[in-house]
């Protein structure tokens, strides 16, 4: 009976950590190569300030634009967000409240030591109409009068011959606003398995065809559970 419980504990622990990852909500798909961390820097937006950025959509079914920001005011900063389609049609015109971006250091969404962590930045999701395509223009106008600086982030457009053709900010022609686009509907990571696996196998070595890596990963997890159980019932002198 004790062995059965030990096996159950091992399986539950391994399943638990895997499930925590597999049940995480992830975007349907992410835009690629949108933030240049090499040249990223703060871009303060004072009250009344405006930022206008063309955002090329990389795929069909856009879901949202994730906009990193930093704000430490007592009350939320407010921005007017206007989205215009490639044909000049107004797609959205909303007012967004941006709350304090700080979270306790140990609960931050980014614990990786990246700029997001030391800026204690947060991301605001700006929904896109699913029918939007081509390129949309994002126009941010700060409309609150709160003291303190609302900060967005920008990167430098790379000089030739980098081939960097991304559109720049209207107000700062050598920089572009850092943001991320997302596509499709967010869901559990496990539901994206049919996306992950074919993509993975476009890049795996010829000697690791489907399902070899997947089986090996399962084998590693199973070995962890097996060794846990075996060692738990080892003779006391071996411990």
């Amino acid at each position: 009976m004790r062995r059965v419980i030990a096996w159950a504990v091992g399986i539950a622990a391994m399943t638990g950590v895997s499930a925590a990852m597999l049940m995480t909500t992830v975007p349907g798909d992410r835009g690629r190569d949108e933030i240049n961390l090499v040249t990223i820097h703060e871009l303060p937006l004072p009250s009344g300030g405006v930022l206008t950025q063309a955002v090329p959509l990389q795929r069909a079914s856009p879901y949202d634009i994730r906009l990193p920001y930093h704000w430490r005011g007592q009350r939320p900063a407010r921005i007017q967000v206007q989205l215009t389609g490639a044909d000049g049609v107004l797609l959205a015109n909303n007012v967004e409240s941006l709350g304090d971006s700080r979270a306790p250091l140990w609960l931050q969404p980014f614990g990786d030591g990246s700029i997001w962590q030391h800026e204690r930045a947060a991301f605001r999701s700006i929904r896109l109409p699913p029918t939007a395509g081509g390129s949309v223009v994002l126009r941010l106008t700060r409309i609150d009068q709160e003291p303190g600086m609302l900060v967005f982030f920008a990167s430098d457009r790379l000089p030739p011959p980098s081939g960097d053709t991304r559109p720049t900010l209207v107000e700062k022609p050598s920089e572009f606003l850092d943001l991320e686009t997302e596509y499709g509907t967010p869901g559990r990571a496990i539901a994206k398995t049919p996306v992950y696996i074919p993509r993975l196998h476009t890049l795996t070595p010829p000697w690791m065809p489907f399902p070899v890596p997947e089986l090996l990963l399962g084998l590693i997890a199973a070995a962890g559970i097996y060794l846990f159980t075996v060692l738990l019932f080892s003779p006391p002198r071996s411990r």
């Binding site: 090499v38 962890g224 846990f228």
Partner: protein
Amino acid sequence: MWIAVLGLAVAKGLVWSAVLPPWYGPDEASHYAYVQELVENGWLPRATDANAALYYPPDIVCSESNLDLTLYGGFHAEPPFGIPMAPCSASSPADRLGSRPINAAAGYSPVYYAAAVPFYLLTRPLAVEARLDSVRLWSVVLGVLAAAFAYLAARWAFPESPYLAFSAAVLFTVQPMNSQQTAIVNNDALLIAVTAAFWWRFFRALRVGVSAREGVVLGGLIGLAYLAKPQGLFLAALLPVLYVVGLPRMPVRSEMSRLGGLAAAAAVPIIAAIGIGRIFSQVAGNTSALIPTAPGVHGISQYLSVYSVYHFERLYIIWITSFWGYFGWFQVDLPSLVYVAIALAVAAGLAGAVWMAARSAPLRPVLVAAMLAYLVPAALIQLLEAYTFQSSGQLILQGRSFLMVLFPLLVLLIRGWQRLLPARASGLLAPAVILAGVGLNVISVLAMVDGFYG
């Protein structure tokens, strides 16, 4: 048990080398270009240059470009799934040739790279990505060797408990950054394997003493570690520790004679390795592996402030985030709470180890030696960065720079956790360490799958 460690190391190495996209290992193109140019151009790289990638073989540059890693700013890239890109193709024989013998890895001796040549030749007719995958297998082999040496080292570090030794070897094997660096083309893999062998002989010598023959073995391993990566030479600073902790004192005259013999035995292979390294540098025309000096205000106070700003964030990056798991070119991180759990576990383990060293007389010598084995090379690596910063203003360290001291750190952590656990729960430690280590490895693979392929 050793078969289980080796099996785990093989499976883990193959999975990691498959999941990390080509070129997404840090500096992987430079290390791979070194191997390819050894074969195809027949040359050693002669100088390093910030723009060295301009001279790499076109098939490498083209393949990187197809995966959205360009010469400019690779730190933000992801494989471009789902978006249209103009693929480039470089498959003629001339595309395998570098245009100039300049490489960012030029400061390293060819030991790791020359040994990788057979792996390159196995897949020479294939596309560059397959050749890269094949050369990655050399690092996987080194990872398996490192696991074997770690197991042998752990048997000496935990002589009273085969299962604690086994758990230490497993944790070493599945540690996520160790897993990454032994799955990509990078001379870190050789340094990790050689230092694991060094720790085996080190912990053995703590128990059985140091003979002149052992001095030659230790010196040889230090020399090989130096040829893998120059920081390997810092292991030499631990030889006095072995002498003090591992040998009973003798009368002064005999002591001097023994000391002289041991020093000579260890020094000969180290000096020989340094000489070999210098010969390679001369043949290749390399001048210095150090970063050139640069003007500007970058003294020690600036260096210390870099580490203290943002709530000591750089310390956290070096010792928690990028030491335990921050993958690719810093593209994939672990959930924040995992880092917090690691930080707490490390803090508890180190505190417990200090407590055990203070309270447990029988274990004190080995624990103190393990502490020095961890701290002395780590401090020297840190000083190297301080020196480089002072002359050039550049920070050169990441967490993976300290993987050579991973094993003594794990010895300290496991001893510390052992001390903190109640005696009746001590049997839980080894299984819990294994379950946590393997769980962390699985989490890391899943995080990479989402980060790179999501």
